[in-house]
Symmetry: C2
Subunit: 371 residues, 2 copies
């Protein structure tokens, strides 16, 4: 239907308009534990207003819309998250929600979307975005993605984006760059020397000092044909499994398709492909970025008041500093509070030492058991 619309609307031959287009694949999901009580199992982080009024997935789609029309923006997600996703993205065509039968980490997810796009447009360029990251400057983001798409379209590379580290972060994986290969007038582009697991603090400090290390932001750009060739070479079981999956689906046997997908190994695209392939490039991200991994990260990414608080909703703060306070309806008042995360929603109220926001998932688990 979308193709027809385009062809009808612009009067150009369908093939030139749709072949080699740029498509976005946004990966959505999660357990909703780290951002309890705003997020829950059915409404995890991407579908929640963490950084402002809009949900993170809404903001992600808006960034993609600077480059591609809505018809070329796809969201991969579990069936259980479809109601939340539709609520956030009411204008996204129903067919652009790609349902993963079960979550099997990013490699099957990316492969599922790539094979679908390849059947539609074998020359497609595919941009893979996480749905729950924070990018305060969408213009800088889209300039960078455009450059990355150019690089991906003209070569046979798996291109990823690396964020220049601003601090010795131990919560992210790193990419160690190799040779710079870009032409002088082009955007910077590096070969990848190696992928680095989340480091300890000493190592993270060394990476920052030495330079040449970038945060792995989980953003990938490639021609779908290049990606599928990479999967065929480095993850042949996954590649074969996905072919079987679509074969079953084409034959109308959804149960079999689901069973095939469920049988795929749980593995990330970084570990399964990027760390093994030789044709990986990295382009540095000239934009601010944060994965907003915990409530406390809001102290880093959002504007603070004069005593260092991040406040949203009706609040009264007396002698209160370095707190994150978010409330959806009920007023929250604090007196003598320091370094706390306070989140109030209809699901529950969280009061958490700011240094321990990583452990919030324990609360979600404990409440889950109680219910």
């Amino acid at each position: 239907m979308n193709r027809k619309k385009e062809a009808a609307g612009k009067g150009t031959p369908r093939k030139t308009r749709t072949s080699g287009g740029t498509y976005f694949v946004i990966m959505a999901g999660g357990k909703g534990e780290r951002f309890w009580p705003l997020s829950t199992g059915l409404v995890p982080k991407p579908f929640v207003s963490i950084t402002g009024k809009k949900t993170l997935i809404e903001l992600t789609v808006e960034r993609a819309l600077r480059i591609a029309p809505l018809e070329r923006i796809f969201v991969v997600l579990g069936r259980e998250h479809l109601p939340a996703a539709k609520k956030c993205l009411p204008r996204l065509p129903r067919g652009n929600f790609i349902i993963e039968p079960v979550g099997r980490d990013t490699a099957p997810c990316v492969g599922l979307a790539a094979m679908m796009l390849h059947r539609r447009d074998p020359d497609a360029v595919m941009v893979v975005l996480p749905s729950d990251h924070y990018v305060p400057d969408p213009a800088a983001f889209s300039r960078c993605i455009r450059e990355t798409v150019k690089t991906a379209r003209r070569g046979d590379h798996l291109v990823t984006i690396g964020v220049p580290p601003g601090r010795p972060e131990t919560g992210y994986g790193y990419i160690r760059t190799g040779r710079k290969i870009s032409a002088p007038r082009d955007a910077d582009c590096f070969e990848v020397a190696r992928y680095v697991e989340k480091p300890n603090l000493a190592k993270a400090r060394r990476y920052l000092r030495e330079g040449g290390y970038f945060w792995n932001a989980g953003i990938f750009v490639w021609r779908v044909s290049v990606l599928l060739e990479g999967l065929r070479t480095h993850m042949p079981d996954l590649h074969a499994g996905l072919l079987d999956f679509y074969k079953a689906l084409d034959g109308g046997d959804r149960d079999r398709a689901d069973a095939i997908f469920a049988a795929l190994s749980r593995i990330s695209i970084d570990y399964g492909l990027m760390e093994k392939a030789k044709n990986v490039l990295m382009m540095p991200a000239p934009f601010a970025w944060d994965d907003v991994g915990t409530w406390t990260s809001l102290l880093r990414v959002l504007p603070r008041d004069e005593t260092g608080n991040v406040l949203r909703g009706r609040t009264v703060t007396l002698d209160t500093d370095n707190c994150v306070i978010i409330t959806d309806t009920t007023p929250v008042a604090t007196l003598g509070a320091s370094n706390l995360v306070i989140i109030a929603s209809k699901n529950g109220i969280l009061i958490c030492d700011a240094s321990r926001a990583q452990e919030v998932r324990q609360i979600a688990k404990a409440l889950g058991k109680k219910q």
Copy 2:
């Protein structure tokens, strides 16, 4: 109506049944600021479930009911608190709510009730109770009140109850006892040497060490005729004002009555009468008592869990100690919280350092301004 019922029901002459009866006068009111967000201007502390499921005024009436029938229990309150009071005490006869036209501290309040009782039963014995104190052992309380009533009935004394201090409390006034005057087999009874204002910590410690000092619990027992005589002698303006007030009321001129009451001086019964009168006695209270002055006082009076928390409602507490957590409907989860008061209600959510609960009224004021 109540009198008729009694006379009809028991078949005894009306006079013997109603003359010299024991009546309770419960003083209710407040601004609702210290127990925000559960209490508010319209629903202050007595009408709120602070210590458990029942409201403090309900518990107070239940204690009185151990001694007197409901018909002889009166509640003095401002008109604005009548809806909240009726909700807490649906069985109290409408006529037993005595409306104070405006709040003028305890002396006019007590005088208002005493004069009303005197017109009804000149030999009445009147027990004055605050409506918002915590008494965990009602049986011990009622034994003590019975003894006190006996003492008041047989003499011409203004009797008050003194609580043996359990700690060097600086938030209460003290009573210094004089000569012990009780007969050997009677309950202890002392003359009062003097009333002592809220002391500093050094003085409070000394009182505890020296002995002979008792907390002023604001509980009084006297024959109404003795009280009125005391007012006539030591507070003649108030006495005359109250006579005028009832005269205006008898003449059907409510506006004039209200104006007369409003013109009364704002003064407490302790300051205006008890500190001046020579016929004051004090009986020690052999029951646990607390004025529950702040949220933090709940750490003192209510049972704590193994990590020292007082919890009510649905809570999940991880690494949490010495906190008061009360929630009416929404679950509250804490992680790494210490020495906090956390109160959640439909009016708002409070997070307060436990050592600063005295300042909660500032929050209520700040919110009042914002609204």
